[in-house]
């Protein structure tokens, strides 16, 4: 019992040190700025802040809206209809999430930039001096982010649609038409997943940095980064981020309450056999829509990057030139994703038992709302000193960054999965005399397999693409692939950048395949 307590206390302490202490330090120091912030307050600065905040809100709002418009019909097609090649198309629709958004943006600059091939062609055909639409600006950011994040909405809604008990809809069909069943039963059952998808997309889009910076839009995260890197005004940056943090906190509390009601049955795997049979027209429309989405979000940008790479030689050269960052990124993402899964498993089981579970859940997923650059600042404040300098100057600081930023995803996935596990199964194992270790190994872990897989893959991908915190803390000699590509984008040769941009996708896919193979092989844990 004592051993258990010590173990759990250590994990909570670690969580506090890694995730919360940096924030306490950075926000604590920002309060001394309140006075000077108020004294420098004027109409111009207010106007400027308004522009930045409204840009960010517009980006987040419209990205969520368009992700929903694309993601919801796709989820329905894949989960509830007999669409031809549904499984393959669904997989292809998830791939855009494997491409870091700033790379998606970079590819679209080649297509719809001022000198992009599509704009050049259109200007030639219609003899125009200026392109009708360029990827630069808010509309472009929304367009790129929608193509990157619609898989999140699609994935969550399709889980909702697949896990809804079909007899609930049957029961309703005794009294209502198909439309009525959708309105009164399907929609309310799926709405928590839909809301979660929208909120996640909103937070992702709000806090992203790379796309806005590349497409020259002044957004909240770009402004924070500028405050830190150009004006060296860290405390003011932290202070400025507070109102937004409160807003994101509000969204997280809202999400947690839905979660509290037990709606998030994320990992129920029901064998749903009742499909809507699409006729020829339905099949044709479904295929055209889903293939168009794949074309825009994956085939066209990746095809363009391949084209820009010019030749296989350049791709090989890019691989060689980035060999060290590739290895660093892969290993750090691999280690971090694995540590996140282990920590999330322990923390989720604690959350499941805790009396203050709602409070702890909010605390656990709060880091979702912290801008990467602010977290980076906090980590510098905490770790950059004589005592912990050996951590700060090594690759360990990058692992800490990844854990602090992405542990909420691990906790969200594993806690939801844990909620679905029938306690009787563990009780039955305990009655048979199994030890705690055996029970975990033979009963709990196999039942949590879907959650573990999901948490590992998503955090691995996010770690590979992390930019806004890493850029502040990266120690010499440990440059990650994202950083290398991001700096190349500013100073490098375009064919080399295009070739290097293909690498994160390959790494993400290899991580995804790796976990699939591991889980397929290790069917028995004994």
């Amino acid at each position: 019992m004592l051993k258990k307590r010590v173990f759990y206390s250590t994990v909570i302490f670690l969580f506090f040190i890694i995730v919360f202490l940096p924030l306490v330090l950075v926000f604590g120091s920002s309060f001394k700025e309140i006075g000077s912030a108020l004294s420098s307050f004027n109409m111009n600065s207010l106007k400027e802040k308004f522009v930045i905040i409204s840009n960010s809100f517009a980006i987040a709002f419209f990205t969520s809206l368009f992700s929903l418009i694309i993601g919801a019909p796709l989820a329905f097609l894949f989960s509830r209809t007999n669409l031809y090649f549904g499984k393959i198309i669904k997989f292809l629709c998830i791939i855009p999430f494997f491409i870091p958004p700033y790379i998606q943006a970079y590819a679209w600059i080649f297509i719809l930039g001022k000198k992009g091939f599509l704009n050049t062609a259109l200007m030639k055909i219609f003899s125009m001096q200026e392109p009708i639409f360029t990827i630069y600006g808010i509309k472009g950011v929304i367009f790129v982010l929608t193509l990157s994040y619609f898989p999140v909405v699609m994935f969550l809604i399709s889980i909702g649609l697949e896990s809804a008990d079909p007899t609930l809809e049957d029961a309703c069909s005794l009294y209502r038409s198909k439309l009525g069943v959708t309105r009164w039963i399907t929609f309310p059952l799926v709405s928590p997943y839909l809301i979660a998808g929208i909120i996640f997309t909103f937070i992702f889009a709000f806090s992203q940095f790379g796309v806005s910076a590349l497409l020259e839009v002044r957004s909240y995260s770009v402004d924070l980064f500028a405050q830190i890197s150009s004006f060296y005004n860290e405390s003011r940056a932290a202070l400025n981020s507070l109102p937004i943090l409160l807003f994101i906190l509000f969204l997280i509390v809202f999400l947690s309450r839905k979660w509290e009601k037990g709606f998030f049955a994320i990992f129920i795997t029901k064998d749903r056999k009742r499909f809507v049979k699409l006729g020829n027209w339905g099949q044709a429309l479904g295929l055209i829509f889903s293939l168009l989405v794949i074309f825009l979000s994956f085939a066209l940008p990746i095809g363009e990057l391949m084209f820009q790479s010019r030749s296989l030689k350049v791709i090989i050269a890019a691989l060689k030139a980035s060999a060290k960052p590739i290895t660093t990124s892969f290993l750090l993402a691999f280690i971090s994703a694995s540590l996140i899964v282990i920590l999330s498993l322990i923390l989720s089981s604690l959350l499941n038992k805790s009396k203050f579970s709602l409070f702890f859940r909010i605390a656990a997923i709060l880091p979702l709302g912290i801008p990467g650059s602010i977290l980076g600042l906090g980590l510098i404040k905490l770790w950059n000193n004589e005592l912990t300098g050996f951590i700060y100057s090594s690759f360990l600081i990058i692992i800490i960054v990844y854990i602090a930023r992405f542990i909420p995803y691990g906790i969200l996935a594993l806690y939801s999965n844990l909620k679905q596990v029938d306690n009787n199964l563990q009780d039955a194992a305990a009655l048979s005399g199994a030890s705690q270790f055996k029970m975990n190994r033979d009963i709990l872990i196999p039942l949590l397999k879907p959650g573990i897989k999901f948490a590992w893959v998503i955090t691995f991908i996010l770690c590979l693409g992390e930019l806004s915190s890493t850029v502040l803390v990266v120690p010499p000699g440990h440059e990650t692939l994202s950083l290398r590509i991001y700096s190349l984008m500013h100073y490098g040769e375009s064919s080399l950048i295009a070739a290097a941009s293909l690498i994160p996708l390959l790494l993400s896919l290899s991580g995804f395949l790796f976990i699939k193979i591991i889980f397929a092989k290790v069917k028995r844990w004994r």
Partner: protein, 239 residues
Amino acid sequence: MEIIKVLNLIKTYENRLILNKLSLSLEENKTSVIVGPSGSGKTTLLRLIAGFEKPDSGEIYINQKKVNSPKILVPPRKRGISMVFQSLALWPHMTVKEHLAFVLKAKKILKKNIPEKINKISGLVGLKDHLKKYPSQLSGGEKQRVAVARALVLEDPILLLDEPLSHIHPKLKKDILNLIKELKSELNLTLLYVTHHLNEALFIGDKLFFIDEGKLTIEGDSRDMVNDPRYKNFFIDVI
């Protein structure tokens, strides 16, 4: 009088034959019980009668009207039937009262009559104190009563029950069976009850249909069958 007639039904799932030329007819105001082992096709038969699926071949008539065939599928809501599901299928986002009001509103019952109807049925099934609760706040027996109340609030003449007592305590089973019996005579219902428990079938059924591997094996009046020495060995086998 014959109220439901099933003629030569064939239904397959993924190349597995579930119902094999099954025919039977059910009489009005009687309780017919379909008994059979798991996988014998009982639930599939009920789903076809309810109108959730189409057969591969064969026909179903309700009140002499063809409602199901490979080409015809009268939607469930237009068949004048209610159903209690094996899983109960209670909507997690609705309270007990909302369940009952939802069903009544769907059938366009006048708004002013809805509270009275809810009052009546909740009184009959003993749920008056639980109207504001969600399914997750109810015990197993209470959930069962909600499912029965939802099925009966419209007073549809036909009630289908798909192993409704499979997950509840034996002590509660008898209470619920008595309740169903009472409601049946009070509301003048025709019941089609599916179970694999012979004791349940004998307790509630007027007429028994035994099906196995999608075929009707034996049918008859339950009292006659119990007293008929020809069926003695059969019952022993089933039990």
